[in-house]
C-alpha cells in the first residue's frame, strides 16, 4: 500500500540545551565512595597528573536526573528524521539504506562490547578473524590485494589513499617531484580536500559536454609532476564515465597512481571491480554502502584497499593470519603510520561483515541491480514533473543516484531549490541534498533511493515532489515560508555562512551569544 504523507506534523518540543538543564545537586547516578583498600593503594590519583595539566576550576557538567535525561534525548530523537522513521531517498550521495537491527544486537554482545584494544591479541582472536576475513571478502569485491579498516570516515579513507600515494612516490625517490593530484569537479569534495591536506597541489577537471571531463583535459595536465588521480565513478551526477579505463591508463603511463573513491559504489557490486578497471587503490564507506548506520558524523568506517605493490604502505597494524592464529602486524617499516587510534571502529566493520555474510555474492549483486532499478524508476517518474530536469542526456541511464535540476521551475516561479527542499519536511521526508561544491548544476537536487525502498515508497515520494511542484506553480509564495509542520521553523541562512555565529563548544556558545 502506498502510504500517504499528508497530515504529517513533527513533534515540536522546546528543548533547552543539555547544559542549561537540571539544577545544582541533582544526580542521575549516585556513585559509591571508593573502597578504602583501593584508596590506600592508589593514594590520590590526581597526583600522577602533571600540575600544568590539571584544571584550576571545577568541571561544570549538567546536574540532572535519569528521568530528565531520558525525556530530553527521546524528545530530540522525536524531532529528528532518519532512515528508521522515513523512506530517505533525499540524501543523495549518502546511500541511506536500512541498517538491519540484528546487526546492532550482535554488536551489543559482551564479546564485542567489553573487549579492550590493548588486550593481548591471543584473547581477541574472534574479532581479529572477522577483520581478517572481511579483508579477504573486500579483496574479492574489489579485486584489490590487501585491506585496512583503520580509517573511521569516508574522508579519512580518502585521506589514507592520498597518504599511500605520497608514500609510494617517496619510496621511489619522487616524493618532491610528484606533487599534483588530479580529480574531477563532480567527484566528492574530499577527493580534492584530503590530498590538499596531505600536501599535494590539486587540479580539478571540469565537466565537458557529456557531464564528465573530456579525456583531452586530463591529457593536458599530465606531467612528471603527476602523483595520481583520485575520482569517484559514477560521479555525483550518477553518470558513469566510460573514459575511466583510458584515464587510469594515461595517468599510470605518466607515472601516477589511480585511487578509486568508491563512496558511490552502491550500484556496482558484482558488476565493476576497481582492480579490473586498473585502479591501484580504492576505498569504500562501510557506513553507507555496507549498511552500517551513518551515526550522525559518528561511527563510520572506511575500507581502504590496495594493490600488491602498495600493501607495505598500509597503516599499521595490519591484521594477518600466520597459519595458527590471527596477529596484529606492527612491523611495517614503510607504513604511512597510524590513521586512527587502535583498530578503528571495529563495530562498524562487524556490521558490514554481518550484512555481507547474510547476502552472499548473489545477494550483493542483487543489491546493486535493485538500487540501479529503483533509481532509474524514480528518475523516469520524476521526468513527468513540471519544471524538473535531468541535466545532460535525458535518455542515458544513471547508476545509483541522479543530480536533478529545478532550473526551469525556479525561472518560472522565482523560487529556489532550497525553498522546495525545505518543503519536504512538511511531509515528514528528509530535506533533500542539493549538491556538493562546486555547484555546477543550476538549482540542484540529488536523490538516491538505494535498494531499501519499495515501489510504494518511491511512488509516494514522487507524489510529494509532484505536489510541491504543483504548489510552486499555483502559489509560489506559500512555499517561501516552509516548513510549517516541521520540528523547527526556517533557520536564518546567514548564520550558516558566518563563522562568528558558530559554536563548537558550550563555552564558545556562551561567549558568542553575548
Amino acid at each position: 500500500m502506498t502510504q500517504s504523507h499528508d497530515n504529517y506534523h513533527a513533534a515540536r518540543w522546546n528543548e533547552p540545551i543539555i547544559m542549561e538543564m537540571g539544577s545544582e545537586g541533582q544526580r542521575g547516578i549516585l556513585v559509591d565512595k571508593t573502597d578504602q583498600a583501593i584508596l590506600e593503594e592508589i593514594q590520590n590519583p590526581l597526583d600522577s597528573i602533571p600540575q600544568s595539566m590539571l584544571r584550576s576550576s571545577e568541571l561544570k557538567l549538567p546536574e540532572i536526573s535519569q528521568a530528565q535525561i531520558l525525556r530530553h534525548y527521546i524528545r530530540l530523537s522525536q524531532m529528528t528524521l532518519g532512515f528508521d522513521v522515513t523512506p530517505d531517498a533525499s540524501s543523495g550521495t549518502c546511500t541511506m539504506k536500512y541498517s538491519p537491527k540484528v546487526n546492532e544486537a550482535i554488536c551489543r554482545n559482551a564479546s564485542v562490547l567489553e573487549v579492550h584494544p590493548l588486550q593481548n591479541p591471543s584473547s581477541l582472536q574472534g574479532i581479529l578473524k572477522i577483520l581478517f576475513d572481511f579483508g579477504e571478502i573486500m579483496c574479492e569485491i574489489s579485486g584489490m590485494y590487501k585491506y585496512s579498516f583503520q580509517a573511521s570516515s569516508g574522508a579519512q579513507g580518502i585521506y589514507t589513499n592520498a597518504c599511500l600515494i605520497r608514500a609510494y612516490h617517496e619510496s621511489n625517490g619522487e616524493g618532491d617531484q610528484r606533487d599534483e593530484i588530479i580529480t574531477t569537479a563532480f567527484s566528492h569534495p574530499a577527493d580534492a580536500a584530503t590530498p590538499s591536506v596531505a600536501g599535494f597541489k590539486v587540479i580539478t577537471l571540469m565537466p565537458g559536454e557529456n557531464g564528465y571531463p573530456d579525456f583531452q583535459s586530463l591529457k593536458s595536465v599530465l606531467s612528471e609532476r603527476t602523483a595520481g588521480l583520485m575520482v569517484t565513478n559514477p560521479e555525483d551526477t550518477g553518470l558513469f564515465n566510460p573514459h575511466i579505463p583510458a584515464m587510469v591508463k594515461a595517468v599510470q603511463d605518466a607515472g601516477g597512481l589511480c585511487a578509486y573513491d568508491q563512496a558511490n559504489a552502491n550500484g556496482l557490486f558484482g558488476i565493476v571491480r576497481a582492480a579490473d578497471t586498473g585502479f591501484d587503490l580504492c576505498q569504500f564507506n562501510l557506513h553507507k554502502t555496507f549498511s552500517a548506520p551513518h551515526s550522525a558524523q559518528g561511527q563510520g568506517a572506511a575500507a581502504v584497499g590496495v594493490s600488491e605493490k602498495l600493501a607495505k604502505f598500509l597503516p599499521a597494524p595490519v591484521v594477518d593470519f600466520n597459519g595458527a592464529e590471527y596477529v596484529l602486524d606492527y612491523d611495517r617499516p614503510e607504513s604511512i603510520g597510524k590513521i586512527r587510534s587502535f583498530l578503528g571502529n571495529v563495530q562498524t566493520v562487524i556490521k558490514a561483515y554481518a550484512w555481507v555474510m547474510s547476502l552472499g555474492a548473489d545477494g550483493l549483486k542483487s543489491v546493486s541491480e535493485t538500487a540501479v532499478l529503483n533509481n532509474n524508476y524514480l528518475a523516469s517518474k520524476l521526468a513527468e514533473i513540471k519544471g524538473l530536469d535531468l541535466p545532460w542526456d535525458r535518455n542515458l541511464k544513471r547508476i545509483e543516484q541522479v543530480r536533478y535540476s529545478w532550473s526551469q521551475l525556479c525561472l518560472d516561479t522565482g523560487l529556489s531549490t532550497t525553498d522546495l527542499a525545505r518543503k519536504m519536511s512538511d511531509y515528514g521526508l528528509q530535506t533533500y541534498m542539493e549538491s556538493h561544491v562546486p555547484r555546477l548544476v543550476d538549482e540542484p537536487m540529488t536523490l538516491e533511493p538505494t535498494e531499501s525502498l519499495s515501489i510504494d515508497d518511491l511512488d509516494a515520494y514522487v507524489s510529494v515532489l509532484k505536489e510541491i511542484s504543483d504548489q510552486a506553480y499555483s502559489d509560489p509564495e506559500s512555499l517561501k515560508g516552509a516548513p510549517y509542520k516541521s520540528a523547527s521553523d526556517q533557520l536564518p541562512q546567514n548564520q550558516f555562512n558566518d563563522p562568528e555565529t558558530w559554536a563548537m563548544t558550550w563555552k564558545a556558545y556562551k561567549t558568542k551569544r553575548q
Binding site: I203, E209, C410, V437, P438, E477
Partner: protein, 378 residues
C-alpha cells in the same frame, strides 16, 4: 509608513536594443537612433522591463515602492505591470539621451533607493555607473545590443528573481561585477575595443552560493582571498609580473601589500609596483629593457569568460606572443568558472595567431593548492 528598504529605482532606456535587430550595433548617438527607427526597430526594452516588473509585482513584493522617470523611461512599464510608481519630477524629451539617465539616477540616489533596476545595455550601465559607482546595488534587465558588462541577469524573469530575493532576504549578498563598454564607432568599422569602466554591486545569484548543507561554506570574498594568498606564495623574486585589471587582481595586490589599480594593468616586481595603469607601449618598452623573466596574470571576465581582448587590451598580442603561453597565469574563483556554465574562455587579442596560440586547455589557479583546467576557445 513604508521602510526605505522597500523602494527601488527603475530606469528603462527606451531606445536600448533598437540597433541590434537591424544590425546597427548599439544606439549611442541620435543619428543612429533615427536610422534604427527608420529601419523598423521596436522599443524592446519596455517590453522586457514590463515582463520583469510583472513578475516582481505578482510576488509577495507587490508592496515594493518604485521610483522612476516619467513616461517611456519607466513610468509606462511600471504601470503596465501593475505598480503605482512615484514619478520623478523631471521632464524627458522624445529622444531621450544619456543625460536623462544620469539625471534620474542622481534623483534616485538622493531619494535613497536601495536598488536600481534598469533595462538597457552597456551604455545604460555606464551612465548609471558614472553617477553611483558602487554605492547602490543594481540589477540589469538584459535589453541592450552591447552587453559585455556582468551586471545583467540572464533573462527578464531571472532579473525579477534577483530583485525579489534581494528584498526578501535579510542577508543579501552583493558582489562586484564589471561595467564594460566598447567603442561603437570602432565596432561598426569592424574593430572591437572594449574598456573596463569600473565595478558595480549586484545581488549575488543564489545558485552560485553554496548551500548551508554542503559543509564547505565560502563567500566570494574568502574564495578570492584564497586565490590571492596562493598567488602571493607563488610569486618569484626577480620576475616581472604584468597584472591585469579586475577585483581578483586587486585582491592579489592587497595580499601583496600594494595598491593595485582596479581597472588598469600594473607591473609588479620584487614586492612593489614598478608602474601603474600602463599602456601597451609602456609595457613593451619596459620588458624590452629589463632582460628578466616576465609573466602575465589575468582573470576572466565574470559570466562571459574573456581572458584577453576585453578590458585588458594593454596586454597586446605582440607582448603575449613574445612571452609565450607558458608565461600566462589565469586566476579565478571556482564560482567564477561555474558562472560560465561550461562555456570556454574567450580570447580576442586582435591577432588570430595569438588567439590560436592561447587556445586549448589551460590551468587556472582557484585557491590554496588548488587549480582547475579549463578550455580556451579556438
Amino acid at each position: 509608513m513604508k521602510k526605505i528598504k522597500s523602494t527601488f529605482g527603475l530606469i528603462v532606456n527606451p531606445i536600448s536594443g533598437m540597433g541590434g535587430r537591424v544590425g546597427l550595433k548599439g544606439t549611442d548617438t541620435s543619428a543612429i537612433i533615427a536610422s534604427a527607427i527608420a529601419l523598423g526597430a521596436k522599443p524592446e526594452s519596455t517590453i522586457r522591463a514590463t515582463t520583469c516588473l510583472k513578475e516582481i509585482h505578482s510576488g509577495l513584493h507587490a508592496s515594493l515602492d518604485v521610483i522612476c522617470p516619467p513616461g517611456i523611461m519607466g513610468e509606462k512599464a511600471a504601470e503596465e505591470a501593475g505598480f503605482s510608481p512615484t514619478v520623478l519630477p523631471m521632464k524627458i524629451p522624445d529622444d531621450t539621451s544619456a543625460k536623462d539617465t544620469r539625471t534620474a539616477v542622481e534623483m534616485m540616489a538622493n531619494a535613497k533607493v536601495s536598488l536600481i533596476l534598469f533595462a538597457g545595455g552597456d551604455g545604460t550601465a555606464r551612465d548609471i555607473y558614472s553617477v553611483i559607482k558602487d554605492q547602490i546595488p543594481v540589477v540589469g534587465i538584459p535589453a541592450g545590443v552591447k552587453m559585455h558588462s556582468a551586471v545583467y541577469a540572464t533573462t527578464p524573469k531571472s532579473a525579477a528573481r534577483l530583485v525579489t530575493n534581494y528584498f526578501a532576504s535579510s542577508d543579501a549578498n552583493l558582489k562586484d561585477v564589471e561595467v564594460m563598454d566598447i567603442d561603437e564607432d570602432a565596432f561598426r568599422n569592424g574593430q572591437l575595443s572594449a574598456s573596463l569602466y569600473g565595478y558595480m554591486k549586484v545581488p549575488f545569484e543564489r545558485r552560485y552560493i553554496q548551500g548551508a548543507k554542503s559543509g564547505g561554506i565560502e563567500s566570494d570574498e574568502s574564495a578570492m582571498s584564497a586565490v590571492a594568498h596562493e598567488i602571493s606564495r607563488r610569486l618569484e623574486d626577480d620576475v616581472l609580473y604584468i597584472l591585469g585589471p579586475g577585483t581578483t587582481l586587486k585582491a592579489i595586490g592587497n595580499q601583496l601589500g600594494v595598491d593595485k589599480t582596479l581597472l588598469g594593468v600594473d607591473l609588479f616586481q620584487d614586492g612593489k609596483l614598478i608602474a601603474e595603469d600602463v599602456t601597451n607601449l609602456q609595457i613593451e618598452e619596459i620588458i624590452a629593457n629589463c632582460n628578466k623573466k616576465v609573466k602575465i596574470i589575468v582573470t576572466p571576465i565574470g559570466g562571459q569568460g574573456h581572458i584577453f581582448g576585453r578590458g585588458n587590451q594593454q596586454i597586446s598580442p605582440s607582448i603575449i606572443k613574445r612571452l609565450g603561453r607558458e608565461s600566462v597565469m589565469i586566476v579565478a574563483t571556482t564560482n567564477k568558472l561555474a558562472s560560465l556554465n561550461g562555456r570556454p574562455f574567450l580570447v580576442d587579442t586582435g591577432d588570430p595567431d595569438v588567439d590560436q596560440l592561447l587556445s586549448g586547455y589551460i590551468r587556472v589557479v582557484t585557491g590554496i593548492n588548488m587549480e582547475s583546467v579549463y578550455r580556451v576557445s579556438d
